[in-house]
């Protein structure tokens, strides 16, 4: 019980992630087989569809855009401000902030992470930026993965239409790849902009993503 209470947020999202992924696999399979029948081609099994480039591309192109969103969000909010937003820092905190406020080196607490206690050097630098580095790694991992799976799927379509297949390198310059990437990016960037501006005037009682209900509209960086 304590495990569930301590980890409710990550368990809840992990659960709906798996449920959505399974739902996507069944819906995608249905769609894939309907098209196969239209083209007088053989249908595929569930497992064959799950291990297809078509399914992989659909999954990874959404993953990459989420990781890109977080990478840019984490980085941009270091320097850029939105007055009144719960998602922004105040003007005096703009930038990487002092060692004192970041509890680094001599300012670290007894229970601070080991690498935060270091007085400088590469390993501390790495830890100072570990969140954005991890997100960047996940972004490029899924984006390159998308390029491989969507490239295969694109070539399957080309062959179906008796058109020549293209190389992986050529696919990076193909409008299909950029259409799939940008259609996901735009929605993520809209979501961030909306979050930054909506939280100036709107509230959700009890949520750490919101200012307290009674916080004034010009209060910046306050959250529950």
């Amino acid at each position: 019980m304590r495990f569930l209470r301590d980890n409710g947020l990550s368990i809840f999202f992990g659960f709906i992630l798996l449920a959505s992924l399974i739902g996507q696999a069944f819906a995608g399979l249905h769609q894939f087989n309907a098209e196969a029948l239209e083209h007088h081609q053989p249908t595929v099994s569930f497992w064959r569809y799950v291990s297809s480039s078509e399914f992989g591309g659909d999954v990874l192109e959404n993953w990459q855009s989420e990781f890109l969103q977080f990478t840019l969000y984490i980085l941009a909010t270091v320097w850029l401000l939105q007055r009144g937003s719960s998602e922004s820092k105040t003007a005096e905190d703009a930038g990487r902030m002092s060692d004192e406020s970041q509890l680094l080196g001599g300012y670290a607490r007894q229970n601070s992470p080991r690498r935060a206690k270091l007085t400088g050097g590469f390993r501390r630098k790495l830890y100072e930026n570990s969140l954005v580095l991890a997100m960047t790694f996940c972004f490029f991992g899924s984006w390159v993965g998308q390029s491989v799976t969507d490239w295969r799927a694109y070539n399957h379509e080309q062959l179906d239409h008796k058109q020549p297949a293209i190389s992986w390198g050529e696919y990076w310059a193909n409008s299909d790849f950029w259409d799939r990437s940008l259609q996901n990016w735009q929605s993520e960037f809209l979501a961030i902009g909306v979050m930054a501006t909506f939280t100036i005037y709107l509230r959700q009682r009890g949520s750490p993503e919101s200012k307290p209900v009674g916080a004034p509209h010009d209060a910046t960086g306050e959250s529950n």
Binding site: S51, G56, V59, G145, V148
Partner: protein
């Protein structure tokens, strides 16, 4: 007790990492093999 609770949150952190990395390995393999 404190140690147990730290272990449980670390388990969630590691679970998410494993899920992402397994996803990368699986779909890269799919992409490379699915000619």
């Amino acid at each position: 007790m404190r140690f147990y609770r730290l272990r449980s949150v670390r388990a969630m952190f590691i679970t998410y990492w494993i899920f992402i990395l397994a996803g990368f390995v699986f779909f890269f393999t799919v992409g490379i093999l699915d000619r």
